[in-house]
């Protein structure tokens, strides 16, 4: 698998907050789940990848089919993104927004976009201001996938979605991955993460406390007689969930 993204000594400082990322590379077709409480730096990481903010130190190397891309604008043509809310001019209809996006992305497929809106029962003739939060998320998801991106960034994509819609989203993401799409997503819903993520980052207060393949991370823990998760030698047979890892590294209840 070719490298899609490479983080090299990345630090980002904003006021009192500093985000420090590990020197890792993300492979083409990999699904990375980012877990962390509010303020952990998940959204900042996404913004760095999207080029919305610049690094204070280090760099993020972006690749397309193994070739290093300098121009973020060019690279963005291959990215689909979903934020925790669809914030666009609220007087705009979804169909019109689709036409606008058609002019931005080379591979925009208006039919695919409208089909996905139909799948989610979202009326393309509705103005954004008339949509509920869940509907906005679904529309945002349709936009992220309509141009068959090579990389999808999802920041809390399941926020506000009902169970059925979440299941559909997970299925569509799996399909996208099978076509070689790299996916980076953050979510508080660890069952979705458990189903999708191959590798995870556990973040807290701007630091990645643990990262690696989910199975390898789980292998390093077992449970004591009280059911608490404790570090142990690798290769044990204990069934550890991502929620257990979350509790160990980040503690307490989920936000």
């Amino acid at each position: 698998m070719t490298t899609h993204l490479e983080f090299v000594s990345v630090r980002k400082s904003r006021g009192d907050f500093t985000l420090t990322l590990p020197d890792v590379s993300i492979k083409q077709g990999e699904i990375l789940g980012v877990i962390g409480n509010n303020g952990a730096g998940k959204s900042t990481m996404m913004q760095l990848v999207l080029g919305l903010i610049t690094t204070s130190e280090g760099e993020i190397r972006r690749y397309h089919d193994g070739v290093h891309i300098d121009e973020v604008g060019v690279w963005k043509k291959e990215i689909g993104f979903v934020f925790d809310d669809l914030l666009m001019y609220d007087d705009m209809k979804l169909k019109r927004l689709g036409k606008f996006l058609n002019e931005q992305y080379n591979h925009w497929d208006q039919h695919r976009y409208l089909d996905m809106l139909a799948l989610y029962n979202v009326d393309p003739n509705k103005k954004i201001k008339k949509l509920s939060r869940g509907m906005k998320m679904k529309a945002g998801f349709a936009m992220a996938l309509a141009h068959r991106p090579k990389l999808i960034l999802l920041d809390e994509p399941t926020a506000g979605l009902d169970t059925k819609s979440r299941r559909q989203m997970v299925r569509l993401l799996k399909e996208a991955q099978s076509e070689g799409t790299t996916i980076i997503f953050s979510s508080h819903i660890l069952s979705d993460m458990e189903e999708l993520a191959e590798t995870v980052w556990l973040m807290d207060e701007g630091v990645v406390l643990a990262h690696g393949r989910v199975e390898e991370l789980k292998e390093g823990f077992s449970k004591d007689e009280n059911g608490r998760i404790i570090p142990t030698e690798k290769g044990n047979d204990e069934v550890i969930s991502l929620e257990d890892l979350h509790d160990y590294y980040l503690g307490g209840e989920l936000d």
Binding site: L52, I53, V74, F83, L87, M88, Y89, F100, E103, Q104
Partner: protein
Amino acid sequence: MISVFKLEVWLMRSGLPLIIIIPFVLGFFSVVNNTVSPLIIVYVMVIALIQTEEKNRVNRFMYSLPLRRSEIFYARVLSLTFYGSLWLVFENVARLIIGVTIDGSYVFYLVSTFVMIMIVSTLMVSVSKTMPQGILRWIVLFVVFFLAVMSMTFVTAITSMFLEDVVGVVPLFISIITFIVGVIVFLALSIGGIAIQKRQDVV
């Protein structure tokens, strides 16, 4: 850039009839060259666009799209210049209908007003895109607008009056030079504005 320009024009679509009708009506009654009205339109439009942008919090979405920051910058400058120029065009179409004399001075007035629209638009976009949200930005926008309009109208008025006194009419080459200087100032301001904006975080 054209798609973003079309989006900006669409955003202000409700104001377009007024930008066409009011200057057209005014043009029938105005006897003096009117430089300031189209510039005020530019100011009003930039305020309206900024407020729409802030109300809808669209920056994160827009800057996540595969658009260069310079494209977003120039699209806004172009849309503001478009609004200001529409005013200028319809006001002067009406004046031509009632039989205003077209001479070198009139051409100079048209060219210098267009150049001022272009420069004021660039200055307004530069300030609005490089300063953080808040009261200070509104104050700076107003001060920059006021100083730019005052200084440019002063220079063009003095030039026009001086040449009319000496030559009788403003020669055509002065209009050409004014246009060339205007384009150079526009490019310098926009390159500077984009350079500052590129280093800034969007969210």
